[in-house]
Amino acid sequence: MTCDHLVIVGASLAGLRGAEAARQAGFAGRLTLIGDEPHRPYDRPPLSKQVLTGSVAPAATALPNLVPLAAEWHLGSAAAALDRGERVVTLQDGRRIAYDRLLIATGARPRPWPDAAQGRLAGVHTLRGREDAAALRASLAEKPARVLVIGGGFIGCEVAAACRDLGLPVTLVETGPTVLAGVLGTYLGAVVGALHEARGVDLVFDAKVEALEDDGTGRVVRARLADGRAIETDCVVVALGAVRNTEWLTGSGLAFDEGGVDCDPEGYVVDTEGRPDKAIAAAGDVARFPHPLYDGRRVALEHWGHAAAQGAHAARLLTGHGAGPYDEVPAFWSSQGGVTIKSVGLTEGADSLVIAQGDPKTGRFLALYGRAGRCIAAVSFDSVRWLPAYAEMVAVRAPFPPIRGGVDQGRLSEMAPGLAQRDET
């Protein structure tokens, strides 16, 4: 069956780039985009940075639309159910939309605070969408006495940095021994932690927030740690990672959980028996797929460039304008406290690390991660011009460490990256 009607569920970066790629490839059929938010696609990276400091308005980050779409938009109502037999998506408001080909790009949402009532207290925030950013910006503009950030991942670190940009007292509590330990490992995590500490962020490691307490009127005033300590705070940002928006696939027969919907190497979704459905592909945060660069390990990546690239790949696949496995090398950036961190590859399971350029003491350097004698990731701190050369080494899984005793380079010392070792079972 040919594709006369491409339906894209999810109107953010992956969905928009998918729609554009379909048109650019020559797809001339009906094109429908469904979004749960009432907004046209907008860009999220500024929401945890310039929007919080007030230099960019929350509503100002609409994404540029690069080609004519001539699309039908259904905004403001989330997809609620998928019937693959009938090839129909049902929206929360009851609308039914039939498809020939379906692109699932429903993304993710912040992992909520585990106690729902505490999570609803006034002054408690999560950060993902435009409204979240507007609410947090409004809270910060009221100059809270102390902001508490729960979680030392990228969002938590960027929020803490924005608070210091605004001169606000901020405490960041993290269950691990450093910030960013899960993504960068404890070696570089400690480097980032030192950067934030020097900018006045109070860092509390190996500690768990057990409860958020209110003043009796439903406004948060205090966080209680598991070890009994209390942190007085009137603004809390819960930054505990994301869960994928997959619940609407219940009953569809597809393989999914809160970690994503499973895809085959090309991007087609698979059912619970592992059989691909060639009418449906997934892209962006919600898509969990075997990455060829990492021995087919299944990953679901929350990266901007990945959402754009995989959205385009999936749309070309569905409209018959492309084929083959999706093998884009993962890449992301973060800027916090004036420092730009850029990464290529995936550090997970790294067993060794070298500082290949520069020196962490100067703040500008590039770290290369190795696993079993191969380069698997490179991370630059204010040294992006070095990154493309090392990205090539990651892309071809070049031997690690890369150079031994080169005359133009000091000896490289291998160090433990401080990452959890991957379970091989």
Partner: protein
């Protein structure tokens, strides 16, 4: 290709102020940005470097900035600046 003059159909409950004013939409692929800062010279009111490599930019410049934004876009050595011009006829 579909007729670019055919307007989008379907509800769009959130009118975009930048479009109403005939403004631009800008985003920069910061994975690719190498901080050459040519945009900061071409359109200093809309692109600035913070620290060594953190590029801040105005994602919704007004129509009056069109020429400056276009200079910035074409001056980027790696073409990382993406611009939609409301005056271009794109839906």
């Amino acid at each position: 290709m579909p007729d670019p003059n055919v307007p989008d159909i379907g509800p769009s409950p959130s009118p975009d102020p930048s479009r109403a004013a005939g403004g631009l939409r800008v985003t920069v692929d910061l994975n690719r940005c190498q901080a050459y800062a040519q945009c900061c010279y071409a359109a200093p009111d809309h692109f600035t470097l913070h620290g060594a490599e953190a590029l801040h930019y105005d994602p919704a410049p007004t129509a009056a900035a069109r020429d400056a934004i276009e200079r910035a876009r074409v001056s980027c050595p790696i073409q990382a600046i993406l611009v939609e011009d409301a005056g271009s006829g794109h839906p």
